[in-house]
Amino acid sequence: MREISVKVLVIGGGPGGYVTAIRAGQLGLDVMLVEENVLGGTCLNVGCIPSKALIHAADAYGHAMAQATSAPFGLRVERPTLDFTRTIEWKDGIVGKLKGGVTALLKRHNVKTVRGRAAMLDGKTCRVESDTGPQVIRAEHVVLATGSQPVALPSLPFGGRVISSTEALSLPSVPQRLAVVGAGYIGLELGTAYAKLGTQVTVIEAEDRILPAYDAELARPVARRLKALGIDVITGARAGGLSADGDALRVEQSGAAARNIAADYFLIAVGRRPRIAGVGLDQLDLTMNGAAVRIDERCATSMRNVWAIGDVTGEPMLAHRAMAQGAMVAEIIAGQRRVFDKVAIPAVCFTDPEVVTVGLSPDEARAAGHTVQTSLFPFQANGRALTLGADDGFVRVTARSDNHLVLGIAAVGAGVSELSAAFGLALEMGARLEDIAGTIHAHPTLGEAFHEASLRGLGEALHV
C-alpha cells in the first residue's frame, strides 16, 4: 500500500473543502483533497446551482405561460412548450462548466486531488480507497468537510418514487403530481419550480405555517404566491407511509381525517444532517454537538490539528459559510491569527418571492437583550418593483433603539437575493441607520427600498 505524507489533508470537495484547498495552495501549503464522488459537493452538483438553474427555467416558462393566458404589457405568446430533457441538459451543462472551473482552480493552486472514499484511521491518518488502489495519507492537519445529506423519514425511506432533492433535480420528465414533505426552503424552492412547470404540487408541513425557520412576516408573501400558483399547502400535518400500491401518501392532520395524497413522486425535504458515518468520523471520537462535529471559533475540533468546516459542523448549512470557514482554516494552518468573527451569515430562500435574512430577526434581537426598532418599506411603493411586475414584499431593518446600530436586515420580494450583498456589507461594517440613510441608492432599483426602510427608521421616509 502506498503511503503519502502531506501538510494539509482536506476531506470533501464541496464548496468548503475546495475553498480550503485553494486557499491553502495560495498560501504555499502542501495540500491534498480527497473527494469520494465529484468535485463541487452538494452545492454544485445537487444543490444550490442546479436548483437555481431549474428555478430559472421554471420562471421563464411560467412567464411565457402567463403571457399566453393574459398580456399585462401586451406581449402575446402562443402555446409555449418546454423540452424538459433540454432543460436538464442545460442545467447539467452549467454544473459541468463550474465543475471544470473548480478542477482547474485546484490544479492551478497545486492542490493534489484524489478521487476515492476516505476513512479516517486516526486524527492524522486517512485511508483512501481510490480508483488506483488503496493508499494511506498521513497529514499534519486534517480538515473535515464532509458536508451533509438529506434526512430520510423512517416511514418513507428513499427509493423508487420517494425521492430527495438530489433526484428531484434530475427527473426524466415533468411529473403530473408531486407531493413535497417539508415546507422549508428546499421543499418550497423545488415545489414552486415544478408548479410553474405545470406539476400539481402538494406541500405537507408539520408546523403550522410554511418556512418555520423564518419569521411569519417574511413567510406571508411566499404563502400568498404559493396559493396563487395553485400549490396545495397542508400545514400541521404529518406524512405517514405510502399506500399499498405506492401511489399515494397518507397524511394525518390533527383534527381532521387522514387523507391520501396521490402523486407521481414524493419529495422528502425535511432537512439535512451532517455526514459523519461512512467517512470514519465516528471512529475519531470527536466531541459532538448533537449530530454535528463540535467546533470552536477557529473551527478546531476536540482533536488537535483536526479541523471541521461547513455542514458537518451543523446549522446554518450554507455553502458561503463553509467557504468562509475553509479560507479561515487554511490561513490558521498557515500560521495566521484568525477567528470566525463574522457579524452575520446571509441566508436566502429562492422561493417566489425570494427571502433574504442577514443578522438578527426582531425577536432574536430582543432575546439578545436589545431594545430594538424595526422599520419596513413595501415594494408597492418602489418604482423598479412595479416595472418588474412583482411588487409583493418589503425590506425590513431592525436596529437598536439607543444608537441605531443595525442588527438585522430582511427582505422578501422578487430578486431580493441580490440585495444580500448590501445587507451583509452594512452589518459587517457596523452600519447605523444614518449610514444607510446617508448613502445614495440608485434609482430606480430595488435597493431603494433598503434606503427607504432605513430612512423610515429615522422617521424620515420620503416615499411612504
Partner: protein, 441 residues
C-alpha cells in the same frame, strides 16, 4: 423687600473664627426660617448655622474653606418686609451644634477682615452652576475617545479593522471606538497600538484621565496642618521593639471567657494603657508636653492617653483622661466609648483635647513597623503593630509564640534615645509578664 445680613454667630468657647466647610444653600435659593445655611467648623467640632428668618439668598459671605471671623457676614438674604425697615438689618443666627461643641456665651471679637461678597445680580434662581460646586474632573484633551462599552457588548468594527487587529494580536475588546455607535476605526486602532488610551469593558484596563479636585477643608485641613507642624517642629526618632504577647493573650482570652454583661470585651489596648501608666511613673519625661516657644516642658501627674481613631471624616484623637485612676475594665470601656463617639462625630471638645501621651493602633492592619507622627506638643507616641504567631528560638528549639511589635516615636529634643529605649523595654517587660502590670508596691 428688605435686605437682611446673617452674621457668623458665636459658635463656641473662646472661638474667634470658624471655617466654612459646607454650604447648604446657594445664591437664588429660597430659605425657610430654621433651614440650615452652612456648616462651619471650629476646633474639631462642626456647627450648623440655621437661618433666623425666611428669605432668598442673594449673596454668600465666603467660599468653602474660607475662615470667617465671628460676627462677619455669612449670608445676605432678601426678605419680605416693609420698605421702611432698615435697608440692611443685621440678624444674628443661633448656632446649632452638629458635632458637639460646648455652648459658650463669651463674646467674640468683631471681624476685622472683610470678606469679598459674591452677589447674585445676574444669577437666575435655577442656575445649575452652583457657585460653591467644586471643580469637575477634567479629561485630557486632544484624544478622541468614545464612551466605554457596556459589559458584555461586542466591539463594533469593520472586517478590515478586525483583521488588522487580529494580525497584530490585539483583542478589540480592549480598544475603545470613537465612531458612531462606538465603532472602532483604523485610527482608534492606531492610537491603541501606539499605547495610547484605550480599553473598554469591565475586564479591560482603562487609562483613567480624570482628575478630581478636592478642596482640603475642615478636619482634613486641620489634620494636614497639625501633621506638618509636628513633623516640622519635633525631632522625630523611631524605636521598634518586639513583644512576646503570648502570656498577655492568654490572660486576655481568659478574662474575655468569663464574660460579664457590665464588662467590655478586652482588646490589647487597655493592657497597653495600663502598662503605659505604670511605666511613666519611672519615666515622667514621656508623659509631658513641650512648649517649644516658651521652652518649657510640663510633666503631668495624670496620664491622659490620646487614642488615635480613624473616623469617616479622618483621624481624630479622643482622650482617655486620668488613666492612672482607671482600672483595666474602666479604661477599656472609656476607650471604646471615646472611639465610638469620635466615629459618630459626637466627641466633645474636651474629649478631643488635653492628651499627654498617645497610643496609635491599626489593629489587624498594624503591619510590622510604623513610624507614628507625634501628637504635638506631646513627646511620645506608641504604635501597636500586628500580632502574629512566629517561630521563636527557645530552649534549643523553635516554639510558636504570639509576637507583636511596638513602634514608637519620640521628640528627640526632649527625650534621649537611651531613655526612650528603656521606657519601651519597661513596657515590654510589663506586657510579657502581664501580672506585673497589676502588682502595686
Amino acid at each position: 423687600m428688605a435686605i437682611r445680613i446673617i452674621k457668623l454667630p458665636d459658635v463656641g468657647e473662646g472661638v474667634a473664627e470658624a471655617e466654612v466647610v459646607e454650604w447648604h444653600v446657594k445664591v437664588g435659593d429660597a430659605v425657610l426660617e430654621d433651614q440650615v445655611l452652612a456648616a462651619v467648623m471650629t476646633d474639631k467640632a462642626t456647627v450648623e448655622v440655621p437661618s433666623p428668618v425666611a428669605g432668598t439668598v442673594i449673596a454668600l459671605g465666603a467660599e468653602v474653606g474660607a475662615t470667617l471671623a465671628v460676627g462677619a457676614e455669612l449670608v445676605r438674604l432678601e426678605v419680605a418686609g416693609a420698605a421702611d425697615e432698615p435697608a440692611a438689618a443685621e440678624v444674628a443666627a443661633t448656632p446649632r451644634q452638629a458635632a458637639a461643641s460646648p455652648p459658650a456665651a463669651a463674646p467674640a471679637p468683631a471681624a476685622d477682615n472683610v470678606v469679598a461678597m459674591r452677589t447674585a445680580a445676574a444669577a437666575p434662581a435655577a442656575d445649575s452652576s452652583a457657585p460653591t460646586r467644586p471643580a469637575l474632573p477634567r479629561a485630557v484633551p486632544g484624544i478622541s475617545l468614545g464612551p466605554p462599552r457596556a459589559a458584555g457588548e461586542k466591539p463594533l468594527a469593520s472586517p478590515a479593522v478586525r483583521k488588522r487587529a487580529r494580525d497584530a494580536g490585539i483583542d478589540l475588546r480592549q480598544v475603545r471606538g470613537s465612531g458612531p455607535a462606538g465603532r472602532i476605526s483604523h485610527d482608534d486602532l492606531d492610537i491603541f497600538m501606539r499605547g495610547g488610551p484605550a480599553a473598554a469593558g469591565p475586564a479591560a484596563r482603562t487609562a483613567n484621565t480624570a482628575v478630581e479636585t478636592i478642596k482640603v477643608v475642615g478636619l482634613r485641613r486641620r489634620i494636614a496642618q497639625r501633621m506638618a507642624e509636628a513633623k516640622r517642629r519635633a525631632a522625630h526618632f523611631a524605636y521598634v521593639e518586639e513583644v512576646d504577647a503570648t502570656a498577655l493573650e492568654d490572660l486576655r482570652a481568659a478574662l474575655n471567657a468569663e464574660a460579664q454583661p457590665d464588662r467590655p470585651r478586652l482588646t490589647l489596648l487597655p493592657f497597653l494603657m495600663q502598662a503605659v501608666v505604670k511605666a511613666v511613673v519611672e519615666f515622667p519625661q514621656m508623659n509631658a508636653l513641650y512648649d517649644d516657644e516658651a521652652d518649657v516642658v510640663e510633666r503631668f501627674g495624670g496620664v491622659h492617653i490620646g487614642i488615635a481613631t480613624q473616623t469617616p471624616n479622618g483621624l481624630m484623637v479622643p482622650v482617655a483622661r486620668h488613666c492612672e485612676a482607671r482600672g483595666l475594665f474602666d479604661g477599656a470601656a472609656e476607650a471604646q466609648r471615646l472611639a465610638q463617639a469620635a466615629r459618630e462625630g459626637r466627641a466633645t471638645r474636651e474629649e478631643l483635647t488635653g492628651s499627654t501621651i498617645t497610643i496609635t493602633s491599626l489593629g489587624a492592619l498594624g503591619g510590622i513597623v510604623s513610624t507614628p507622627v507625634l501628637n504635638r506638643p506631646e513627646v511620645a507616641i506608641i504604635g501597636i503593630n500586628k500580632l502574629a504567631v512566629r517561630p521563636m528560638w527557645q530552649g534549643g528549639q523553635f516554639v510558636p509564640r504570639k509576637m507583636m511589635n511596638l513602634s514608637s516615636s519620640f521628640d528627640h529634643r526632649i527625650v534621649d534615645g537611651y531613655d526612650a529605649a528603656r521606657f519601651i523595654q519597661r513596657i515590654k517587660a510589663l506586657l510579657e509578664a502581664p501580672a506585673t502590670i497589676f502588682i502595686d508596691g
